[in-house]
Subunit: 369 residues, 2 copies
């Protein structure tokens, strides 16, 4: 057992008195889940129960509590760490997990991102420029059509051509057929252009299909995996990364509710930045500001920081803004995100005219590729 | 491919005009994720895209849309069904998934609960009375102490003695030692009382540890499994049920945010009722009204209905209200839930005096056991 502790920062709604009561409640709820008066004195009360390390008023109706927990409460496990950070208190209104910091010992127990920014830059021979990603769609096309799109995007110089996150194993385009044809199409485009280009199938599924699909994709030569941790669970990410050595793109499906209400849930920074990275994603997809979702510039900035701020020995990962983007937005996004970004333009690349290879090429030229 | 469709009911914020725009947006966002004008005519536009089946104003600032999706969009898979129901639109404010209905063909593709109410009633030789559950705690106790508690609760006639959901594989009480000692303790209590009594370890973990722990628990003779789908993913539930044939108790940790804001997320009914049941949980734990959480009577009623309303061939499952309950609340809860309920009293059973076997016995007597 160890004395080390990690820190979680919570935004608590209410005046000082009410918010402090919430902070004290979190200390019990997230650890011993036991009436305070019955918590055994000594080790459990002093060490296992959460501890308020600081508390301050941050606004008219909000306070911030910094609460430390014994690293031992997590058992060194991702799912239990998430549980200590936000398990039961997810059910209580007026508590938002803003961010967390982990001591080295705890960080080391998680693999973190296998590639992240430096690894993907090497893989795509792109030492400086942003990486480019698009999605094959719409659902309902046969696998052969999706493979054709993959090829056309690849010829235009897109680095990662991913499944739309709703492509699973539907009768329109079964997983295996799609993966066979699309990996081949990406490889062929790469051979012709002389540039790396990979296909990233969506492997989100139930157990054990998710593992089977990831391994199948790896054997067929897919170059990355797309998955939605909100549906698949975060706990599968390190395993898939380890089993396939493929880069992982995390998709935000089913997770949005956590960030919508600024007084509860989990912050953009922690959810799409820190947690995605901790689980081992190499890029974290999220809806860009000004698209068809509602994230603000500040939300997006905080995600990018969660992806790239120093976090022990872990590589920074690519923030991957998408969701209703178009080529016309690229200059603004370049200015906002800088070079360490993976641009995801899906439907928008189709909108720019019928020649999608030409559209993709323009995309590539805009980022200096 | 089939023409069958399933139905989702959404609550949409805003006046008629705004809400109808949201409904139209959902039809695209949840399926083709493609600009409307580019959706190919014919099969994809007519069949794959969601369809507004009805739309009505339900309040001053709210409407209800009934949207149908092709069953084929789900590929017959749990994770993809959840994705179609609420994946990307989780990121959009003012949309709440209220409930859904699945045609027989789609229902049949999911196992549903293996035991549910009739199966657990047989298992615990309790043809009519509510089932009783408690939790061993607090975190920080060694395995031997947790086993002692298991035994004492078992002697008092508790049916299911579960891990506190925060017990994982911590150094205080490793998973394997805890499971070995607690299964033995429950068995010994059962032998002495002549009544069925089982221990339910928490198997929530990352992959592949979760499967390993469930199988270990099964081999050691555990009688049920506890897991938190918000951390583990729903897609593991059918597998664990199938691999161990043990009843599954679903815990709400990390899921609370979905239900907190009545204008977004997922309804109590759909999340803790329908979805838990669809995934194959045999009992769904949730915080009772009037405890240390904030669910209303109506919320709890709607969960109980989601657990027990007719849903194709699936067994009803036990609603399992808990969270700050005490013996004094039992008569009120009996009146509210009737007999088809699994009462979960954790910390509250410790509060009633130092003899926890006596407390458990009183609990049992109160439900007519």
């Amino acid at each position: 057992m160890s004395n080390e502790r990690f820190l979680a920062y919570y935004r608590l709604s209410g005046g000082k008195h009410e918010a402090f009561r919430k902070a004290k409640d979190i200390c019990l709820e997230q650890t011993v889940e036991f009436p305070e008066e019955l918590v055994p004195a000594g080790f459990i009360r002093d060490h296992v129960v959460g501890r308020i390390e600081s508390f301050r008023k941050t606004g008219k109706d909000a306070c911030e509590a910094r609460i430390s927990y014994a690293c031992d409460t997590t058992g060194g496990e991702l799912t239990q760490l998430l549980n200590v950070l936000f398990g039961n208190i997810s059910i209580k209104p007026g508590i938002r997990l803003e961010r967390f910091t982990l001591p080295k010992k705890l960080l080391k127990g998680f693999e973190g991102p296998r590639y992240g920014v430096p690894g993907l830059r090497r893989m795509f021979k792109a030492p400086r420029r942003p990486l480019l990603c698009t999605a094959i769609k719409p659902m309902g096309l046969p696998a052969s059509k999706l493979a054709e799109l993959t090829f056309l995007f690849g010829m235009g110089g897109i680095d990662i051509i991913k499944d739309d996150h709703g492509l699973a194993d539907q009768p329109f385009a079964s997983f295996r057929e799609r993966v066979r044809l699309c990996t081949r199409a990406a490889r062929e485009a790469s051979r012709r252009t002389g540039r790396p280009c990979v296909y990233a199938p969506n492997v989100t599924a139930s157990h054990p299909q998710m593992v089977e699909r990831a391994l199948f994709a790896w054997r067929e030569g897919a170059g990355a995996l797309l998955l939605s941790p909100g549906l698949a669970g975060y706990g599968i990410v390190p395993y898939l990364s380890c089993a396939t050595h493929l880069p992982i793109l995390a998709h935000p499906a089913f997770l949005g509710t956590y960030v919508l209400d600024p007084s509860s849930g989990i912050s953009h920074h922690a959810l799409f930045g820190q947690i995605a990275r901790m689980a081992g994603a190499d890029a974290s997809i999220f809806p860009n500001f000004g698209g068809r979702f509602s994230f603000s510039k500040q939300d997006c900035r905080s995600i990018a920081e969660g992806c790239t701020d120093r976090m022990g020995p872990w590589n920074p990962i690519f923030p991957a803004p998408g969701g209703g983007m178009s080529l016309s937005r690229v200059p603004e996004m370049l200015k906002f995100y800088g070079q360490d970004v993976l641009f995801l333009i899906g439907g928008g690349l189709f909108k720019d005219g019928p020649d999608i290879t030409a559209n993709a090429r323009r995309f590539r030229e805009m980022v200096g590729g």
